[in-house]
Structure formats: C-alpha cells, structure tokens
C-alpha cells in the first residue's frame, strides 16, 4: 500500500486544500473529518485523503469498493454558513468541481492524458458517469459544531487506475475508471490538486453570490433538461421527463400520467 503518486505539496489554493493530510488507511475520510469538525479541531478547507477506506460508504451506507491505491478518496470540510435549506447544493457544486478539475488535468500540455472528457456526464444529484458506468460518487454529511457553526463534510471517491479485474463482481458492470476510459495510468496527486483548485473557485463564487447559481449551472452542464428519466426511490420507480431543477437542487419531473413531481431523494437509473 503506497501513496507514492500523491504529491502533497501546496496545491495553489488559499482555503480548500491548504491543509492536506494523507493517511494510508482510515475507516472513512468523512467519518474522520466529521468527528474533528464536531470537536472543533479541524479548520475550514481541511482535506483528508487516503489510499484505502475500511468502511467507505455511499447513500444508504452502500459500501464504496476501492482497491488500495487505485482510487482518489478524499473529504473536505467547509463552513458555508446558514444555507436556508440549500446545503444539499454543495454536492452538486462539488460534482461540477470534480468535472472541472478533471478537465483541467486532461488539458495539461506536458503529456496527453487521453481522457475523453466529453464522455463524462453528470448524474443527479452528484455522480459522474461514463456511458452508464460510475466514475465518481459524492456523499456529504452535515452537522453543527460546538460553536453552533453549520458545517458540511463532502466525501468524494473517484475511480482512477482500476482495471476491470480490480472491481468486485457485483460492480464490475456498473463501474469504470479513468484508466479504463483513457487506456493510460493517471496521476492521483495532480488530479487532486486540479480538483481542489476548481472547488476553491466555485466556493469563492458561492461565498460571493450565494447558492442560486449552482442548480442552473449544473442543469446546463448535465444536459438533462427534457430527457426521459427513471428514478428509483423508497416507493418504487418513477418515470418522467426532467423539466428542470429547483433552486434548492431538487429534480422536477413531468410524469407520464400528466402530473408533476419534485424529487429530493432517489437514484436515477
């Protein structure tokens, strides 16, 4: 187990990633950073990155399968302030940040990375996909620290250098990696820095303009407007056409029976 391809020098941002800690193994980067946030011992912008999580998780505690050293697994701590019910937009913002960071990384001129950025799509609310296979997942935890400050820990997992043999059988057909779509070994450290720089730009914009630009920008980049979607939630499957996102990020659907529905939780199939 090694972190040799992650370079932890300063990534060029003034807030997000000014403190980057690398740990070979953790239970979950989100759990660690959240515990520190609750205790008030982690600063805003703190980033924890690891080679392996023993209990990485997704929505509904689904396990995030990641062979050691093949994924880019990190969490960051932010204090966006009183969000008036819009804190969930941070996940959408971070998916835009990951996509922007990957774009920047793919365009570094010293080497052709071979990453087909135009094949990477956004899946509501905050996954990155390549032809229906998952490339990146994001899960966030919200809380309030001892000083009463609202915080959010955003956990990001990106499949970087896995081959199909690295994926367990149950996800072999639904996952992909940057190496699989590019045919080349990629550099986790450079990718991390590119993403953190992009996230910092987005976060600065959020601090200046508030949350309201996020849903519109996400929808524009996703190309989902007018698309037929199938969404699975706790009550079964819903079919409809995406008619937009609310300002708080919720998905608006026009259902086949002519009614409209607003979705806050669920999986787009």
């Amino acid at each position: 187990m090694t972190t040799t391809d992650i370079d932890f020098t300063f990534c060029g941002s003034t807030l997000i990633g000014r403190s980057i800690r690398s740990l070979p193994v953790v239970v979950s980067t989100n759990n660690l950073l959240k515990a520190e946030a609750l205790e008030g011992i982690a600063a805003e912008g703190a980033v924890v990155v690891t080679d392996y999580q023993t209990a990485g998780r997704g929505r509904l505690e689904r396990q995030w399968e990641s062979p050691p050293g093949k994924s880019l697994l990190f969490s960051l701590l932010l204090f966006p302030g009183d969000s008036a019910g819009k804190l969930q937009l941070m996940g959408l913002m971070c998916s835009l940040g990951v996509l922007g960071g990957l774009t920047e990384y793919s365009q570094m001129t010293n080497e052709n990375r071979g990453i087909p950025i135009d094949k990477i799509s956004l899946k509501w609310p905050n996954d990155l996909m390549v032809e229906k296979r998952k490339l990146c997942g994001i899960l966030s935890d919200a809380g309030v620290d001892k000083k009463g400050r609202h915080f959010i820990v955003v956990g990001i997992g990106i499949n970087i250098n896995q081959t199909f043999a690295d994926f367990p059988g149950n996800i072999k057909n639904i996952a992909t990696s940057l190496q699989l779509i590019s045919g080349k070994t990629q550099y986790r450290g450079l990718i991390l820095k590119s993403i953190l720089r992009r996230l910092e730009k987005y976060y600065q914009r959020l601090k200046q303009e508030g949350f309201d630009w996020i849903a519109a920008e996400w929808l524009d980049r996703s190309g989902l407007l007018g698309k037929k979607l199938e969404i699975s939630d706790n009550n079964g499957k819903i079919h409809g056409i995406c008619t937009g996102l609310q300002n708080d990020g919720a998905m608006r659907l026009s259902l086949t029976d002519g009614t409209n529905k607003t979705i806050y939780s669920g999986d787009v199939i």
């Binding site: 505690e61 008036a84 819009k86 804190l87 609310p125 905050n126 935890d141 806050y264 939780s265």
Partner: protein, 161 residues
Amino acid sequence: MKIAEIRRLVKLVETSEITEIEIEEEGSRIKIVKQQAMSYQQPVQTVFPAGFSGQASPAVNIGDQNTALLNACKSAEIASDNLTKVISPMVGTFYRAPSPEAPSYVNIGDHVNIGQVLCIIEAMKLMNEIEAEVSGKIVKIPVENASPVEFGQTIFEIEPD
C-alpha cells in the same frame, strides 16, 4: 429558515401584541397565529413549503378557521403535556437508522440526552443527522421510516426531563 429563527419568531409573537405573522423567503413560508380567544398563550405554528397549495391560499373560510382551531387545540394538548417537538429542518427522506440493516437510533420509550442522534434526513445525498436538543423520553415518532418529510414537520415528540 433556521430552527433558531423560527423559535425567535414564535417568541416574538408570544411576547408582543402581534396576533399573526407570516413570512416567506427562499421557497419556504411560515405563518404563526396567536389564538387570543383561547385560555392559553401558546401560539399555533403552521409551517409548510410555499408550493403546498393546500395551505398557500391567503383566503380564510370557515373550514380553515376550524382547522386552525383544531390545530390550536392539538398544540394546547401538547403544551399541557409539556412535550418538546423535534421538527425537520429540511425537505428530504426520514431515516431512523444509518442503514437498512442497522438498528434504529432511538425507539419510543428510550431516554435520550442532548446531542444524541435521533435520525437522519437525507436530501440529494446530503446526510443530516438530527440531534436531540433536550434530554428526555421519546414518546412519539409520527413519521414512518424511509418516508418523505417536509420542512417544519414534526418528527419526534420528547417528554423533557
């Protein structure tokens, strides 16, 4: 709107000559009405999203007044029982456990301490742990596991120590 802000508004209505206040901001609307004819001073809270058509009409008819009175009586019962309501700070899905296989955080009859996690409300992969703000006994959980909840909806009732 934050819970603390709602509490501040309730206090404002309670302690002033104001009988009714309605505020709408960023997709949420809160209306607080003080029922002067009742013998208690507990204000009635009605909190609902702005898009909820059943409550959004400003017109008041007899049915609405009856509903308001009924709500007032319910609140009075709660007030007389000295129960503390825990309300949802966001729209999302209510989960009583961290995963489908895990035991519930709390059950009816359990004693909870301040800061103890009661449930998770999830919206768009943001997991928001809701903690007890008072210590006491859980007496009611009016929401089913994995059900949608609205902003301001009561999700627990606690009998404080």
